[in-house]
Subunit: 317 residues, 2 copies
């Protein structure tokens, strides 16, 4: 019988659904009270290092599958997980609307006068003007990634007649994008864009991607947005680009390191909007996540295989 | 021959289009240099009190039609214009996308963590949390107005699965609204809404509409947005409602009076986002406005009638 360690909360109804599939539900309390041995856990629903690492590292661990609550999985010990042939499924798809809406919030913060108004507020200065007032149909965007979050972002931007280019590994087409470019040949798309949006996962390949060389290509861009991972951006390179006017504003929901230290020069630049890695936070996460667990459990109990959202452990997403 | 006073700029191409319709173009300079008498103007494109009032008040004025550059026309001397049987056409439709995008900006400012982040910024306090993080599909909205701006706002909110109610004079249905209510019977719609959006024009009927009695109906609403007219909101009543938690946040692009005096208590309330009447500002206004002038000129030169965007001078919009 499968033993599912429920780190994410399960409602009464969800618990009974899981049990009816022949899966036993275990809690961290059960392990702490030694009613269940960490070795016995076969499925982990959620991740909490303090609870999860002892399960992963148990000498006779039977762990076969981890269902995470996030799209990115860079906080997991991926190589150790891969060594043990454990399957990881993520929450890709759930956070798309939240992050896409956050991205619209960042764009309109700068293009509909909110930024200027906030800058003037300490002086209580009200004047019927603002910098950079633009209607979306006058702007174009390039999104690094054409995954779920990027597709939802492109869909919404399209509704406002923004021209949207996407960047992925091979340049293959993707829903809601006007055009797509390969990651090693994106320069033509970048040249057209006013708004640059990073949604790429944190992997060895994306670490430091937005470096001095990247920013040196820019000329009077409006806005750089990072909702991917802080590790993809070289902070000094971004700060230089802002100083040189290569890009006028930045909105960073993710930074390196997190939490951002008080002495980081990012704080001191008022052309940077900083939010604390909350763009993907959704209310009712348990309700939104359960269908992914459920679909995967259905096949897992009969075939030992998951049916959706499986992470490629070597690629890291 | 019609004499069009061009207060709004016209491009070379636009000028030749107008002239080819048999319309003469006059500038404020022509009047100042007495090359054309104010009495001779028959059409005014735009409005600037200093230039326009002498034309309107000229003893033998031939003014027949004013094409404004704004959706609201409450800054015009409407009763005097009506007395002289002058037709007014507005720019309704042009500002819709700009204002709808500003409204999304205000909503996501509060629901995607920007407000909280800005509050914490002076202390350089970065913590992976924020107040009131919501995905749009968890919210519902009520829009006072079902005109062009409201319809575009409802369209975009619908794209994010927001339930949207509208309020108009009779409760007649309108595009993109889930339901509509009459202005004297909107309470059921209001009860369901988290976000209240005023887009109504400034008229005697809407002055002071959002008063103490209105706000006393509210219970734990998330956000009150005003992009209509400042005169529609009783400031003290809004401030009381915020203090009592009847509504948590407000976003005011329009206020009464404008400019907002430095001693206004609205400034002191950090739950109010204030922008300086810029939600409707569009880039390339001349390009966007000309098609309305053109359509109206076509019929005006042959029949003396305009074909679109005519303002009901008694209603004021």
């Amino acid at each position: 019988m499968e033993q599912l360690l429920a780190i994410m909360p399960l409602s009464e109804q969800q618990r009974s659904t899981v049990r009816n599939m022949g899966v036993n539900i275990v809690t961290a309390d059960d392990i702490a009270r030694k009613q269940v041995a960490p070795d016995d856990i076969t499925i982990m629903y959620g991740w909490n290092a303090e609870i999860s690492l002892p399960v992963l590292k148990a000498p006779h661990s039977h762990l076969k599958w981890i269902q995470t609550f996030s799209a990115g999985v860079d906080y997991l010990p991926l190589s150790e997980i891969a060594q043990h042939h454990i399957v990881v499924t993520n929450a890709s798809g759930i956070h798309g609307p939240a992050i896409a809406q956050a991205i619209l919030g960042y764009i309109f913060y700068f293009t509909r006068g909110l930024w200027t108004a906030e800058q003037r507020r300490p002086e209580r200065f009200w004047e019927q003007s603002a910098d950079d007032l633009l209607v979306a149909d006058e702007t174009s965007a390039i999104i690094f990634s054409t995954g779920h979050i990027a597709v939802e972002t492109a869909r919404l931007l399209h509704q406002m007649n923004v021209y949207v280019a996407g960047v992925n590994r091979t340049g293959h087409p993707a829903d809601n994008f006007d055009e797509t470019y390969a990651i090693d040949d994106y320069q033509k798309g970048l040249a057209k864009a006013d708004i640059i949006i990073n949604v790429m996962p944190g992997t060895p390949a994306t670490t430091g991607f937005f470096n001095q060389q990247f920013f040196d290509q820019l000329d009077h861009k409006l806005l750089f947005i990072n909702v991917g991972r802080g590790s993809s951006v070289v902070n000094d390179a971004l700060l230089n680009a802002l100083k040189q006017g290569r890009v006028k504003y930045a909105a960073l929901d993710v930074v390196d390191p997190e939490p951002l230290p008080k002495d980081s020069p990012l704080w001191a630049n008022d052309h940077i909007l900083l939010t604390p890695h909350v763009s993907g936070v959704v209310d009712h996460l348990d309700t939104r996540l359960f269908p992914i667990l459920y679909d995967n459990l259905k096949t897992f109990v009969s075939t030992g295989l998951v049916s959706r959202n499986q992470v490629d452990l070597s690629a890291g997403y």
